[in-house]
């Protein structure tokens, strides 16, 4: 079995940008409901303000629903000479740098970090890793997200 990886390597080092997009109270509340989060600072503006926040606070992994706002190119991945398909989510990392609140206007910037093959219970896979940095309206980095996806030949 050939194992050479063939993809658009020129994508390394290129940043793909999106935004600004506003984080709304209803989005935060819907996300909180989705993960059954009931802490009032994530669901109620008055409760958040009583804790010293300017507005309702997004739970720490909220920005994971915003990563897809960045339009990422197809890396045209071939493995062993064959095109790849699929796209299951393999892993995720969120580093929270500062609170995200309703009313924030976020921008996102993503780049291709790594592409590599490995084998497992379901056969040979190729992992594609993207990193995204979110900044708020003050230019402050609020979160860094790393996502891994699996594709197969």
């Amino acid at each position: 079995m050939a194992t050479e990886l063939d993809y658009d390597r020129s994508l390394h080092g290129i940043e793909h940008e999106a935004g600004p997009f506003e984080v709304t109270e209803s989005q935060i509340q819907a996300f909180s409901r989705g993960i059954a989060e009931t802490n009032p600072i994530y669901t109620d503006a008055a409760a958040a303000k009583s804790q010293g926040f300017q507005n309702i606070v997004a739970p720490p992994t909220f920005c994971t629903i915003m990563v897809h706002r960045v339009e990422l190119p197809d890396i045209n991945l071939k493995f062993g000479g064959k095109p790849t398909g699929g796209g299951m989510h393999a892993g995720q990392r969120v580093q929270s740098r500062a609170p995200i609140m309703a009313g924030d206007k976020l921008t996102a910037s993503s780049h291709l970090k790594d592409v590599y093959p490995k084998t497992g219970r379901t056969g040979t896979m190729v992992f594609i890793v993207w990193e995204t940095t979110f900044r708020n309206q003050d230019g402050m980095v609020v979160a860094d997200v790393q996502e891994s996806f699996i594709r197969r030949g």
């Binding site: 989005q27 819907a30 996300f31 409901r33 989705g34 993960i35 059954a36 989060e37 802490n39 600072i41 994530y42 804790q51 606070v57 739970p59 720490p60 992994t61 909220f62 994971t64 629903i65 897809h68 699929g86 299951m88 989510h89 393999a90 892993g91 995720q92 990392r93 969120v94 580093q95 929270s96 609170p99 790393q146």
Partner: protein, 140 residues
């Protein structure tokens, strides 16, 4: 309030027993703007992806795991959550989320607690596993 000095290596956090419902996953997909129907909401589409049924989105599982930690340590304590999605998570099946403190240290002027966190199924299936870093205040 939980203080850094209250935490020891080996401490167990949780467990949080929960499950993901069809309605909950649908709502999550809507706020995520992931167009439905998809493999998270639809049986036939899931089967086309070689899945036995619709599954819980990885980032929804991740959000549920974060909840265990913010319930334990406080809302703004979770600094880093890093997980691997090991097996598809089904709807309407019992899920257990639990964590174990594996390190405590001071780093860049902060009190840091590190823990392993796992989401498992009723038969011990390891659905999602990873590591979290939490910052805690010192006792006054």
């Amino acid at each position: 309030m939980l203080y850094f000095e209250d935490v020891e290596l080996g401490d167990e956090i949780g467990p949080l027993e929960t499950e993901a419902t069809d309605a909950g996953v649908l709502e999550f997909c809507e706020v995520w703007a992931n167009r439905t129907p998809n493999r998270f909401t639809d049986q036939a589409i899931a089967e086309q992806s070689n899945l036995p049924g619709p599954i819980v989105p990885g980032i929804m599982s991740m959000g549920m795991m974060a909840r265990l930690l913010t319930d334990w340590a406080g809302a703004e304590s979770l600094k880093d959550l890093d997980v691997v999605f090991r097996q598809p998570v089904p709807h309407h099946k019992p899920i257990t989320i639990a964590a174990t403190v594996t390190d405590t240290r001071q780093e860049d002027g902060e009190n840091v607690v590190e823990c392993d966190i796992m989401m498992t199924g009723a038969e011990g299936e390891r659905y999602v596993g990873g590591k979290a870093i939490i910052a805690l205040p010192s006792k006054p």
